[in-house]
Amino acid sequence: MELRIDPFEHTILPHLDAAYNLARWLAGNEHDAQDIVQESCLRAVKFFEGFRGGNPRAWLLTIVRNTSYTWLKKRGAAHMHASIDDEEFELEDVAANPQQLEMAMDNVERMRAAIDQLPPEYREVIVLREMEEYSYKEIADIADVPIGTVMSRLARGRQQLRMILCAETQPEGGQP
């Protein structure tokens, strides 16, 4: 007697928020994100037999990520702009003014707009790390890149985000 389980109820539903969040950030809009999540869930159910242990959320997010990129490519990739260079890893010294930074981050919409401006490679590691709280190892598995790349993309993504946020709250015409 084999116990059948419902992949949707047990493996997908509890992680639907995470799936939607990633798709939403990669697709750039609600409509595409919903379509991507639906397609990803269908694929997840279809390939569920092949899922043997491990972390169900990471497994689902890997499918969502792949589906998102396939989807975006098919759609002409408006949201995937210039690729980044992982080799070059140099941080300039930007000790942002803490008050200015805090003010810039106070507004969720402004924060979202700033994250949206990041290249997708940075955006996805930031979403996986900051919002889904994955370890570097887990992000490396989901995004299919080495751990060192995860580290450098996060560092540079955060730096870029900080610069975008600060640039936006610069007083008009004035320099800090």
Partner: protein, 255 residues
């Protein structure tokens, strides 16, 4: 370590991803450098703010995905469909199967059943709004809460320093007796640690045993101090093992 090196590692430092010696070097630098310490504070603040920008799936999407997935999902949902002429037959068949299972039951099957019960308990707690009955990170709240509800006093060590935050506890009913479930959090993942008094035929104590992963959840079990412990979580088996070892280490000193 100078400022440039510190800033190179800062992001990974904030994520807790650096090896201990490097972490200590950075902390030493923060003590003497206000600029870098400020950058660290900015980074921590930014992490908190980015988190608030996350999106949650609209309720309509859940319904939509459920509807789309259902026909694909090969699950017998016969029982949920409500009364029909064949429910009587199904019930009778279920009885026959139950009798058969009971007659042929053995250790392995019992174990499988237990595994399934433990997994169900954990999943139920995640799906519904029933992660814990008593929510507290304070062992002096969680432990007494179980008094009168179960006939044993579970140890609730504080493992937050080791990265496992106490979330609370809930009551459960596993394998025909009341069980206590302690809930810990590791990063964003929950761990259910379910325990009940070990049966007379079980060893008083046994090392940590790895059970086959159930539906993607890692499961470990051990016996200690006359109690059966089952730990289940979606974190990796290695992480769960480190939780189990930390817990065991602490319980030794708590009791």
């Amino acid at each position: 370590m100078n400022c440039q090196e510190t800033q190179h590692w800062l992001s990974a430092y904030c994520d807790g991803e650096l090896p201990m010696p490097l972490t200590l070097e950075l902390e030493q630098h923060f003590d003497g450098c206000q600029t870098c310490a400020q950058m660290r504070d900015n980074a921590t603040l930014m992490t908190r703010r980015i988190r608030t920008a996350a999106f949650t799936a609209p309720e309509s999407l859940k319904q939509r995905v459920r509807a789309a997935v259902k026909p694909q999902s090969q699950v017998a949902r016969i029982v949920r469909a409500g009364p029909a002429w064949w429910t009587g037959i199904a019930a009778a068949a279920a009885l026959v199967i139950a009798a058969f299972v009971w007659m042929t039951h053995d250790r392995a099957q019992e174990n499988r059943l237990l595994l399934s019960e433990v997994t169900d308990s954990h999943i139920r707690s995640l799906i519904g709004d029933h992660l814990v009955d008593v929510a507290s990170s304070d062992k002096h709240t969680v432990r007494p809460w179980f008094e009168g509800k179960v006939d044993f006093a579970p140890a609730v060590p504080d493992l937050s320093a080791q990265g496992f935050k106490t979330i609370g506890g809930r009551l459960d009913y596993i394998d025909g007796h009341s069980a206590a479930a302690l809930v810990y959090q590791c990063r964003k993942h929950y761990i259910s640690l379910i325990l009940w008094p070990a049966g007379a035929d079980e060893n008083a104590s046994s090392g940590i045993q790895t059970e086959a992963a159930q539906r993607g959840y890692s499961i470990l079990r051990w016996t200690a101090g006359g109690m059966s412990y089952w730990a289940i979580s979606e974190i990796s088996q290695e992480d769960l093992k480190s939780f189990a070892q930390t817990f065991q280490g602490e319980v030794g000193t708590v009791r």
